[in-house]
């Protein structure tokens, strides 16, 4: 459908959007260059656009929409990133989320996509952020749980289907991961912290930001419940290559070639990992050539 670009109505709603979404409120929005380029309305002559009521001026009326815009979206961010909010503190989190909403306005019909860019925003765009590296990793974990929540349900691969794979074909077999699986390699023990935060009860010692310590984990959904599981480095390296679609033989060759990996240990653990990963439903199919 053709957009009525030049129409008065298009200019009106474009102007309202600029004003309502201005981070300093409606008055600053009306005075902003962006809004004035759309419609040269002044605060003083606002009643030429918005009608006042006996109780509220035209400016107060449009400012109500501006206030509600940020309040609503910052609340959504606070629900999606409870751990990050816990570490930052309520006020600091709301200030950062407010700026995030301003810099990355939603373009999606669903609010569930609002926080997509938040981990990257914390990494790149927030000046002087205390515990930045840890908070970015925590935000990544929290967002991956959001993603896993909404991913497509897939029937897990059965033990019987695995047993049916002829031994000589295992090297070329590709294991298909369920869509609701996310892998993480962190510089901090993020999963430990997140677990402590989720289980925290008032009166207990507050979970503290941990010191750096490499960790590996996965977030996934099983029977419509979200789960988190720690991985070893070796397990993570194998699993991440399988998720990327590499045949098992090639994945193992690559991992064995990594610095610090002991092939004998890898071989010894492989069977246990596969048994655990299968029983947890991390794979949905095995493809043989």
């Amino acid at each position: 459908m053709k957009r009525a670009k030049a129409g008065d109505y298009h200019r009106t709603i474009s102007w309202v959007q600029e004003v309502v979404q201005h981070p300093q409120g409606a008055e600053a929005g009306i005075r902003s260059a962006k809004a004035r380029r759309i419609l040269p309305v002044t605060v003083e002559a606002l009643e030429e656009m918005i009608l006042p009521s006996p109780e509220a001026s035209a400016l107060e009326r449009i400012d109500l929409y501006a206030g509600m815009y940020y309040a609503r979206l910052v609340d959504i961010m606070a629900q999606d990133f409870t751990g990050v909010k816990f570490v930052m503190g309520e006020d600091a989190f709301r200030e950062i989320a407010y700026e995030f909403v301003h810099r990355h306005p939603s373009t999606h019909p669903s609010l569930t996509h609002l926080g997509t860019k938040f981990p990257q925003y914390l990494l790149k765009e927030v000046p002087k952020l205390k515990h930045r590296e840890f908070l970015v990793e925590l935000a990544r974990l929290e967002w991956s749980l959001e993603e896993a929540f909404d991913e497509m349900q897939a029937e897990p691969l059965t033990e019987a289907a695995l047993q049916a794979v002829p031994p000589e074909q295992w090297a070329k077999a590709k294991l298909v991961a369920i869509p609701a699986l996310r892998l993480h390699a962190f510089e901090y023990p993020v999963n430990d912290f997140f677990g402590a935060f989720r289980e925290y009860t008032e009166g207990a010692p507050l979970p503290r930001v941990p010191k750096p310590k490499k960790s590996w984990m996965c977030a996934f959904r099983r029977n419509f419940s979200l789960r988190r599981m720690d991985l070893t480095r070796e397990g993570y390296e194998v699993l991440s290559r399988l998720v990327a679609g590499k045949p098992l033989g090639k994945a193992l060759d690559e991992v064995n070639a990594l610095k610090g990996i002991k092939p004998a240990e890898l071989a010894a653990n492989l069977q246990t990992w596969f048994r655990d990963w299968t029983s947890l439903g991390l794979f949905s199919a095995v493809k043989l050539r």
Binding site: M1, A56, L111, H113
Partner: protein, 296 residues
């Protein structure tokens, strides 16, 4: 009693409540006797996870109506066809007796503010909305049910009252209407409109559903907060609508500070005392309410 059937013969589903996550466990476990549920369409359009599983379980037991918040029918952006496709797919799955959204815009120039923003009511916007509603209805292959919004500001560019705009919009596009009597209260209070005049101007043959909700009165505004029981004045409007229109599918919205399922349902069931009795409906020629969804 002046019972007007809606022009599509869409059923009076009875008294329903909004399906909200805090009540999922209770509904699935206790299977309470509820006439129907309304969902926020977008909560199920962008997920393939647990929400859809819950929805299917609830839909096995109860009629469901789809009510959206992001169609943005009043926007000047091109219609979002990915959104429409998802909406149609969800409707094929849920088989609601009807689906709808609001007379509003939620964003423009590619953005979405996730708010139901007001439209100036004039000939230009009327033509714009009618054109878009027709396109959407052609695609969805059914009438859409559009709700009067609650608003906190009005435009000098408006040249007609909201109820006249909505009546003409519905007639010219042949869409159906959801009359939110709490929104009538909120907007009339904020803009000093006459609510009785508003209700007089509603084309009841196009109204297939009523919304009830609680609001919050502040010093300068009345806010559509959906966090209280329904106020007396809103019940008065509802009673008036029932007298004018006859019985209509009625839904209580409660979206913040949500109490127990029983409390929400008890509040919704207060509507029964205002709804014409079945006997009266039969005498007036209206069809017996049907529980099963029917194709629109």
């Amino acid at each position: 009693m002046n019972a007007i059937r809606n022009r599509w013969n869409l059923p009076d589903l009875g008294v329903g409540i909004g399906l909200r996550t805090v009540h999922y466990g209770h509904i699935l476990e206790k299977k309470p006797k509820v006439d129907w549920f309304e969902i926020i369409s977008e909560n199920f359009m962008y997920t393939d996870g647990r929400p859809l599983q819950i929805l299917e379980q609830v839909n096995d037991q109860y009629p469901i109506i789809m009510h959206g918040v992001s169609m943005s029918i009043g926007s000047t952006d091109p219609i979002n066809w990915d959104y429409m496709k998802r909406l149609k797919n969800l409707a094929a799955r849920v088989k609601p007796a009807w689906l709808g959204d609001h007379v509003c815009w939620t964003g423009v120039n590619g953005r979405n503010g996730h708010d139901l923003l007001p439209i100036p009511y004039n000939e230009e916007t009327l033509k714009h909305l009618v054109e878009r509603i027709k396109i959407v209805q052609d695609y969805l292959e059914r009438p859409i049910v559009l709700e009067n919004p609650s608003t906190y500001m009005t435009f000098k560019a408006s040249t007609m009252p909201e109820q006249e705009f909505i009546r003409r919009m519905a007639e010219e596009s042949d869409c159906a209407l959801l009359l939110d009597v709490n929104n009538v209260y909120v907007s009339c209070r904020n803009h000093h409109w006459d609510p009785w005049e508003y209700l007089e101007g509603v084309p009841y043959d196009r109204v297939v559903q009523i919304h009830l909700a609680g609001h919050t009165t502040k010093e300068r505004y009345c806010l559509d907060t959906h966090d209280h029981p329904v106020k007396d004045q809103v019940w008065d409007y509802y009673a008036d609508v029932m007298k004018r229109a006859g019985s209509r599918a009625t839904l209580l919205e409660w979206d913040d500070l949500i109490p127990t399922f029983e409390d929400v349902h008890a509040e919704a069931l207060k509507a029964q005392q205002y709804r014409p009795a079945l006997k009266e409906l039969k005498q007036a020629g209206a069809k017996k309410p049907r529980r099963e969804p029917v194709p629109a």
